[in-house]
């Protein structure tokens, strides 16, 4: 008998569908309370860093250049006090097959799917990950479906997302495009069930393990080039995989004194599931609309437990504005001769300003660049904004920025200033949400739960207890 395919029936089979589609039973890692065994989940990939490196070197991924951005560093120094203004380096991840660091995730996920005998892979993503999975599937001989949230109710697509759909098709994938809304998950599950393909989730341990090579390479390249570890690594943060994987790789390389900074574009005030606001944003990833909810509640993704848990690793979380990122993208092309996509430059805009807090001989690495193309470029993104009634002008982003209303291009580079987010607030938020979801009766929390929560937010048990006391 054919299975019922209505919304409630499919969503009701979510656990079984997921288990089939991941080849991994997440129940093994659960304690029954707040805590779950994150290390065991990450070990469940069964791949060592060397094995991942081997997979990636066969699939056009990894060993990307580390470029010193000399002119941007010099420009930043002009706005720092004497003796200050760190050297800024960029890991040129646009050199990966498919043009972004997402290829690292996809290479592993697709190789794993192939090893387990799946005929195809599916990914739910509107971002670079779609092209990455499609490219890897093409290379490794699997079929590929990408499910995208792309259009508003008038059928108008975000140019950046439309470009990614084109790239997926170019790699031979089927692209299923949807209007705005979280029920994308229903379509995703339904297609997973019908095809029996592998869920190449962005948040599986295979995907996150694939990013560890990025952090590892950064440490090794800095040692070779500069004789030391980077003082700071800045990661553009959305779902938190970039931060998690890069940090884990740095730690595996022994670079434990590097400060880890997450950077997102501030889109406060825009609702990510709003049809009317969907096309009022001028960037589709690396923003707080993903960054904050995923950091504070990593498990609301498309797997039972996300392997991307950025608050375990980040030391600071800073924000920049859309206008600052667009300005920096233009600066990267004009002063460094590197034309790259805006989304990857979120960390660069933050680093330009963070560098001014550090001495001249300090080293800041931004963990990536991404490819650019039609739709996914400063000009189409700004011109789309203007067509949607967004006010684009020069000004002071710190005081004038209003996401969804304007894009404020800094009057001059001195107006590029990161904002420090209250990371302890996010940490407290994660703790509250985890308790609410898994053990609302706080008297039942175990010592293991408290230690787990402390690790989840890179703090200690007394901090966790303080948060709980204030509940």
């Amino acid at each position: 008998m054919a299975l019922a395919k209505d919304y409630n029936s499919v969503m009701g089979r979510s656990n079984e569908i997921m288990k089939e589609a991941l080849g991994l039973d997440y129940a093994e890692f659960e304690s029954g309370s707040v805590a779950f065994d994150y290390d065991a989940l990450m070990k469940a990939t069964g791949y060592t860093l060397e094995e991942i490196n081997k997979i990636q070197s066969k699939t056009g991924v990894g060993n990307t250049p580390l470029l010193e951005l000399r002119n941007l560093s010099a420009l930043s120094r002009k706005y720092a006090k004497p003796g200050y203004g760190a050297r800024i380096f960029a890991k040129d991840e646009s050199c990966n097959a498919s043009g972004s660091f997402k290829a690292r995730r996809a290479a592993c996920a697709v190789a794993h799917a192939k090893k387990l005998g799946y005929k195809g892979v599916i990914a739910a993503t509107s971002g670079n990950y779609g092209a990455a999975v499609a490219s890897q599937a093409a290379m490794q001989g699997l079929k590929c479906i990408v499910v995208q949230e792309c259009f508003d109710s008038h059928g108008v697509g975000q140019p950046e997302i439309v470009e990614k759909a084109r790239a997926c098709e170019a790699y031979g994938a089927e692209v299923i495009q949807l209007t705005v809304g979280p029920e994308l998950f229903y379509t995703f599950l339904s297609v997973l069930e019908d095809t029996g393909y592998f869920n190449a989730s962005l948040y599986s341990p295979f995907g996150i393990a694939g990013i560890e090579t990025l952090g590892y390479e950064i440490a090794m390249q800095c040692r070779e080039l500069l004789g030391k570890d980077p003082d700071m690594v800045v990661c553009t943060n959305a779902g938190g995989g970039m931060m998690t994987g890069t940090a884990r790789g740095l730690i595996k390389a022994g670079a434990t004194n590097t400060q880890l900074v997450a950077a997102s574009i501030d889109l406060t005030g825009l609702h990510m599931a709003s049809d009317a606001q969907f096309n009022k944003k001028s960037c589709t990833t690396g923003h707080t609309g993903f960054g904050v909810p995923y950091a504070t509640d990593p498990d609301h993704s498309d797997v039972p437990r996300s392997a991307a848990r950025p608050l375990r690793y980040m030391d600071r979380y800073v924000t920049v504005t859309q206008g600052e990122v667009m300005f920096m993208t233009e600066a990267l092309a004009n002063l460094e001769g590197l034309e790259r996509g805006p989304a990857g430059n979120t960390a660069l805009a933050a680093a330009f300003s963070l560098a001014q807090d550090l001495p001249e001989d300090a080293v800041i690495v931004i963990s990536e660049t991404e490819y650019t193309g039609a739709g996914k470029h400063v000009q189409p993104q700004l011109s789309f904004a203007r067509e949607n009634g967004i006010d684009i002008r020069f000004g002071d982003p710190a005081t004038e920025d209003k996401p969804g209303v304007n894009v404020i291009l800094p009057k001059d580079p001195s107006y590029i200033k990161y904002k420090e987010a209250d990371i302890d607030h996010f940490r407290a938020s994660l703790i509250k949400k985890a308790i609410k979801a898994h053990c609302p009766d706080v008297s039942k929390l175990t010592q293991a739960d408290l230690e787990f929560l402390a690790a989840e937010v890179k703090r200690d048990v007394p901090f966790v207890k303080e948060v709980i006391a204030a509940l």
């Binding site: 919304y7 002119n71 010099a74 420009l75 002009k78 195809g120 079929k143 479906i145 259009f151 109710s153 059928g155 697509g157 140019p159 439309v162 470009e163 084109r166 098709e169 031979g172 994938a173 089927e174 692209v175 299923i176 495009q177 949807l178 209007t179 705005v180 809304g181 979280p182 029920e183 229903y186 379509t187 297609v191 019908d194 095809t195 609702h271 599931a273 709003s274 049809d275 009317a276 606001q277 300005f327 233009e330 600066a331 004009n334 002063l335 039609a374 739709g375 400063v378 000009q379 189409p380 993104q381 700004l382 011109s383 203007r386 684009i392 002008r393 020069f394 291009l409 001059d412 580079p413």
Partner: protein, 99 residues
């Protein structure tokens, strides 16, 4: 008229607005959840007909035929005058003497 075997784009409604039970902002709640995909048309048809296509992965999917030989039209956008101002300013600051 589209012929069997043509590469086409189809549209379908996945959930009607009143079937959407997820937690949604009020504006989205008023909209259907819509879907588009592409594939080889399985039988001759007219635009607006309910058809079946075979997608790039070989899946059969039903929907309303909306486009034959669909193509991408996203671009590098219209001229944004602020960008050349940024370029000019950066060159002046970096290479045009003291700031």
């Amino acid at each position: 008229m589209a012929k069997k075997g043509d590469w086409v784009r189809i549209h379908a409604t996945v959930l009607k607005a009143d079937e959407r039970t997820a937690k949604l902002p009020a504006d989205t709640q008023k909209c259907d959840l819509e879907m588009w995909t592409k594939g080889f048309l399985q039988e001759d048809a007219e635009i607006g007909d309910e058809v079946t296509v075979e997608t790039a992965v070989g899946r059969l999917e039903k929907g309303v035929l909306i486009e034959v030989n669909p193509y991408w039209s996203h671009s590098y956008g219209k001229f944004v005058p602020e960008l050349v101002q940024i370029d000019k300013q950066l060159r002046e600051i970096m290479f045009g003497g003291d700031r």
